[in-house]
Symmetry: C2
Subunit: 615 residues, 2 copies
């Protein structure tokens, strides 16, 4: 199946990848580890992903000609978000187009119109020494220089000796009108903060240089609480049943955050004490466990969180190892399972400013859905389960080397595998692609059943028929890669149960979307924009998502992948107080819709599990 | 000498004391352990110290006739602050006249026109349980009931389980718009606070029932820091020289406070967790050591304190063992050595509302002096030393049984001894009395020298002459009690050095008064009121204080003993937020006068050490 893939080489990095025909240049670059700027979400409007094709043929689209101009197009310039791979290419990536980070999980905040105004600020001071004419107290002398701030008991204890040992000079770190730290000399250039998205399955953090408004490093890993259950309900149940489980789960996530922070600081070559704030966005369960607030009430009707507004906790109180005086700010929560991550996505997408009804779908282990229309904001969550993250799928895996992440079913099966190695499993995007393609080819029926080889229509190509493995109980598997094609000694198959898991996941999300649309009196066609958030939102094939019914039938052009918008929202809140106020405004405006006992939802769920018929 | 004393019996308590002729009934009662109300400071205007003479002769004054009416006087009623003992008496003390406390160190706050409005308040709540129609978060549900308050991380951790385990009911303890604690059931009746005066030599605290505005218990003891030096300068020097001395001194005072708090709670039969606030007044050095703020800068020019405004610190941060969420509020500081105790005295006396220039003299190891005149408030401090508290005097002692506390010198010496036992030493009031009487009798000259027996005038009665003990170096002692008269096997004497110590102490205070008067362009005759504060201010004989020149020459009627006004001020701040605001207003209005390098002060000091000539 490799014969179908096309080589693309990127300069000056010198990396190359093999991709399927029709692959976007943006995706090819991403697979080569080269993250490009896509603040417009890949709509071809911002022009920031500009690259230059220096060898090979790559026809320009009208969008590109319009955005770049005829001269630039003639010189080989293309927009990576618009140009597709048809033949072997060598592509030069200008420095300007690079996203300054190692992962492509962040959407840049550059065009979000953010004037940096972090909660944390630094003030350098040079005080006059007290004399008989000016015998002010130490504290009023300092306050006159840096503004009227409060101070903790322990820090005030250190003020007299600090001032005298450092010649009455130094740098004050102030947050929220509170003196957090005193530092020797002028350290104004060293002002860092971190934003974290704590997902049920993955945790990702970004270190931000607040003095220069610049991402410095990104790091991510699995959420260690996975060993206590792979969705929030099972973790809540675990906590309800085991009295000492809460501190155990809290310690697990705090240790992980600390180890990611260490990585970030190491990458940026800064001391961890220079990190003065951490802003966290996560779902209600993740946020409450992080803070040590018992999430037990989220495990039973009516699913009550502990807090709603933004909360600041002292980092030391929850064991987060950054500057000793620093706070951890945890996003406000909308209600039930709709927590800070959803609010952060709303902030990042500016969903309430769209010119028409806008839908936000954050695909994760919990799927959160927000519908903005006029002055109304509806928010809900549905338990999608971890299928999209590769869990509960027999050979599911995360989007790491060896994972099938794109599938083409024609006369035979062609797969794209991360890292360009023989496949050993399948990740979320691959699963959606496979199901869409299998449905198209008639290998699965509307109800999601993998047809037996004998029941398949006569038009099914023989190579595909051979890949259907029937079992004695009447169920069948579909072999994406044979044992010979695979990277292990066994084939990569999708089982009937895998398809059922997928149906449950997509049914839950689609049913949530449908209920919100009905609540607002809208139909899919009324939507102006569909924001697709989530760690793998950037890589999903829109046509596949539409084809399996994960998203309602809209013009694919209206779908905008916004990547890890929760992390971006957390970063925006880190960068500016105004963004926090905006978040609070959105939180107050949002109405939480509890689907758990909604009969309408149950009906929609049942129907949404079915694959749409062929148009 | 006992023959001169007169027996006074108090009913219904059934106690009796022996006192010198002319002793005030108020003093006699105090010595019997019966504290009477004297909110007017003993001026005969409030009528609250009303007692009934049931046996013996006790002529009424015109003040009494005016205040009580002819009928009451005829029935035997007298004002204890006006009536003197001339013959053996039996006195009935009405319950209304009793000060509800064991010590007479507090001035009642009853007439201070205080509407109780403590910082700490309690709110009982009964919340509705969350249901599908009202799935508010735990925290917003609670906040809706008790008001918009903040909450610490650790307390919010407990909120979910508290609400569910207690049927959504309980009592919230709120301080300064911050939730301090949650308690089971309705505990609104149990709301206590404590006010402490931390002096250089003594520490005294009062437990206040904030729900009913009532003093519950009083306790006092020596300041354990005495072992590190008996005045503030020696303790500051100790801290400057020993790096680990500050925590040592801090621990010493905190342990003492905790042990007094335990006593108070035991007396009131309440759990220590029901004490929700501690308000402390002390001089700058005492307050800073308590908080752990290095007082080293107070040991050198220009004597800079660490803070100026009221400070709240978490009780747990400094180790004070009251309610776990409680704060310790420390009084604002005016400057140099003029600290929170002085500010508290200013609050208690309402010094700025007097109809004319008013002087406040707080006599302690440090003497603080405040002059109010028009819109100006001047404050200063002078190092009086601990002579008035019995220290540095050869046979000095505190005002405890065995201490001579009143002296009459006529043909011979007559002493009043606390506890009516043979004397073993002399306390501060006795020292002032002795010096005044010895000066009157010509035993000491204007410069303070005890005259040699041969140099004494011929008019000196022989028994007095016999009490002068001349030494070979030309110096002499005066024997207040011979070895036979004393309660030990040695005589009680005042040495020449003792008189010198007294002169230093009174000279320092008088010089401070004179400098402030000059600064304001006033003379002693302009003063409307002289407030005499300090632990022993209630017992000082005004005529003696005037006679030795401790106070400037004013009409004795203008002198008002206000007892431990610092403790009363602390109690007022505990009782009402408005009192704190008033304190802050006074603090901002006050000008600190630094006498340390003032040449005028040095001159005044030298002159003030001399005893005034006989009028």
């Amino acid at each position: 199946m490799k014969q179908k893939e096309i080589k693309v080489t990127f300069t000056p990095a010198g990396r190359h990848v093999y991709v399927l025909p029709q692959t976007l240049l943006l995706e090819a670059a991403g697979r080569a580890g080269i993250a490009l700027q896509t603040p417009c979400g890949g709509s071809g409007t911002c022009g920031k992903c500009r690259v230059k094709v220096v060898a090979g043929s790559c026809p320009a689209t009208t969008t590109e000609e319009k955005r770049l101009g005829a001269d630039a197009v003639a010189a080989g310039y293309r927009l990576a978000c618009q140009a597709h791979v048809h033949s072997e290419l060598t592509v030069d990536v200008p420095f300007d187009s690079l996203l300054e980070q190692e992962h492509s999980i962040l959407v840049s905040s550059d065009d979000a119109d953010v004037v940096p105004q972090p909660t944390v600020r630094k003030a350098y001071f040079e005080l006059s020494q007290p004399d008989r004419e000016h015998p002010d107290t130490d504290w009023s002398r300092l306050r006159n220089a840096i503004g009227d701030v409060t101070v903790s008991h322990s820090l005030l204890c250190r003020v007299p000796s600090f001032l005298r040992e450092n010649g009455w000079q130094g740098t004050a770190v102030v947050s929220n009108r509170h003196l957090m730290a005193l530092e020797e000399g002028d350290t104004r250039e060293h002002l860092y903060g971190a934003a974290f998205d704590i997902g049920t399955t993955t945790v990702v953090g970004v270190l931000v240089d607040l003095a220069n408004n610049r991402d410095t490093a990104v790091a991510s890993c699995m959420n260690p609480q996975m060993s206590f259950g792979d969705d929030v309900l099972s973790r809540i149940a675990h906590i309800r049943e085991h009295p000492h489980a809460l501190p155990e789960l809290q310690t697990a996530i705090v240790n992980t955050i600390n180890s990611l922070l260490q990585q970030l600081a190491r990458k940026a070559a800064i001391p961890i004490q220079s990190v003065y704030e951490l802003v966290v966005a996560g779902n209600t369960t993740m946020q409450q466990i992080l803070c040590g607030y018992d999430p037990s009430a989220l495990g039973e009707m009516p699913f009550v969180p502990v807090f709603d507004r933004f909360r600041r906790v002292h980092a030391v109180d929850i064991g987060v190892a950054i500057n000793h005086g620093a706070d951890v700010s945890v996003f406000g929560q909308i209600g039930g399972f709709v927590g800070g991550d959803t609010l952060a996505c709303m902030v990042a997408t500016r969903i309430d400013t769209e010119n028409g009804p806008a839908l936000l779908v954050d695909i994760g282990t919990n799927g959160e859905i927000v519908l903005s229309c006029g002055d109304a904001l509806y928010a809900t969550s549905t338990a999608a389960g971890p299928a999209f993250e590769g869990a509960r799928i027999q050979q599911g895996m995360r989007a790491t080397p060896g994972a099938i992440e794109k599938v083409l079913v024609d006369q035979d099966v062609a797969c794209n595998v991360i890292g360009n190695v023989p496949p050993i499993g399948i990740c979320g995007t691959g699963l959606i692609d496979a199901a869409a393609q299998m449905r198209k080819a008639g290998i699965i029926d509307m109800r999601g059943k993998i047809v037996a080889p004998d029941d398949a229509g006569m038009s099914l190509p023989p190579k595909l028929r051979e890949r259907i493995v029937a079992h004695e109980d009447g169920q069948a598997d579909f072999m994406l890669a044979t044992a010979e094609e695979s990277g292990s000694d066994r084939p990569v198959v999708l089982t009937q149960k895998d398809i059922r898991e997928l149906q449950l996941a997509l049914g839950a999300i689609r049913a949530g979307i449908n209920v919100l649309l009905k609540r607002a009196g809208l139909s899919a066609g009324d939507l102006t924009t569909v924001f697709l958030a989530g760690a793998f939102g950037n890589f999903i094939r829109r046509s596949s998502a539409l084809h399996i019914g994960l998203l309602p039938p809209v013009d694919p052009q209206k779908i905008r992948s916004v990547g890890n918008a929760a992390l971006l929202g957390a970063k925006l809140a880190l960068l500016s107080e105004k963004e926090r106020a905006y978040a609070e405004k959105l939180r107050q405006k949002a109405t939480h819709i509890d689907l758990s006992l909604d009969p309408e939802f149950q009906m929609e769920f049942g129907m949404a599990m079915m694959f749409p018929g062929d148009e």
